[in-house]
Symmetry: C3
Subunit: 138 residues, 3 copies
Amino acid sequence: MIWQQAFEIQTRGRGTTELTEEVCDMVAASGIRTGLAQLFVHHTSASLMLCENADPDVRRDMETFMQRLVPDGDRDFVHTMEGPDDMPAHVRSILTGSDLGFPVGQNRPVLGTWQGLYLWEHRLHGHRRRLTLTVYGE
Amino acid sequence: MIWQQAFEIQTRGRGTTELTEEVCDMVAASGIRTGLAQLFVHHTSASLMLCENADPDVRRDMETFMQRLVPDGDRDFVHTMEGPDDMPAHVRSILTGSDLGFPVGQNRPVLGTWQGLYLWEHRLHGHRRRLTLTVYGE
Amino acid sequence: MIWQQAFEIQTRGRGTTELTEEVCDMVAASGIRTGLAQLFVHHTSASLMLCENADPDVRRDMETFMQRLVPDGDRDFVHTMEGPDDMPAHVRSILTGSDLGFPVGQNRPVLGTWQGLYLWEHRLHGHRRRLTLTVYGE
């Protein structure tokens, strides 16, 4: 059994949007009890992240780390057409990934107690981001 | 056909634990000849890694690299409740990933000659880590 | 329905090779209309990347970034048997990943407009690289 759904998220600029509840609802709607799910974001300047979901400072520190690792306005970058955050957004997306898989059991995502699913917008301004969730199993 | 199994690994502090043999045994037990497998770790301070399996220095150098990239006790981090290795463990996990997929053929993981599957504990102290292997195919 | 095919790519040394068209052809050949695909590279010194496909400078800047983050000939590395690019190739592969999943719809990969699939050779010299594409769905 395969179940697939496209959906969109409006981001408000650089930062994370939690998707856990939305994804749980979609897995429930799929009717699949045991199997796997895969989340995919159809962009190269936003990514997916499984992150600690209890303390918001973890996501703030991740942002601090990334801004230091891949600074906006890096003079070594040539691809700067859309501004100082253009190429850093691509690098950040590649380092964190566009696809994310997780097991499904008892008709819901089997995540750890402290694991949340997040969309990470890497551009400074908000964008409408397209995602696809596919669930397969029985 | 879907086959899913949860299992646990006791780590002995920061470092890698090879899972290749254990995972091969589970894929064999699944009875699935051709398909895909997905390994998932239910924590945000330990991750999964496909790494060169012949020379242990590769994993030692990976550790060297990570300690330099994400130093413990980083003063820019706010989330330090559980100590100097708390936030670095989250960063390291996100950079290396919680899920890992690989093809299954002839009832075993189809890995390259030099590819081994490793659990990477990022906390300084040992933890009991929960994982799920899902195999699907025919 | 499961469809699996192994294939090889000859690289010409460090750099990227686009796989999008080849992968689209294979997904078409699978006959699977809706589902998921997973690409896997059976090596620890080459990786897979979903990257912006319009401006080649993006991949050039990714290379610039990686060479700065993981410099060849790093004196902290012990695993240097095959030369100054040996260990950096392993680190780069782990940071970018050996497996890549994406949804399949209407019998083709459902990628974003600007998303291309690339094999990233991290060794300085060319190698013959083995990959497996698995498609599952209905």
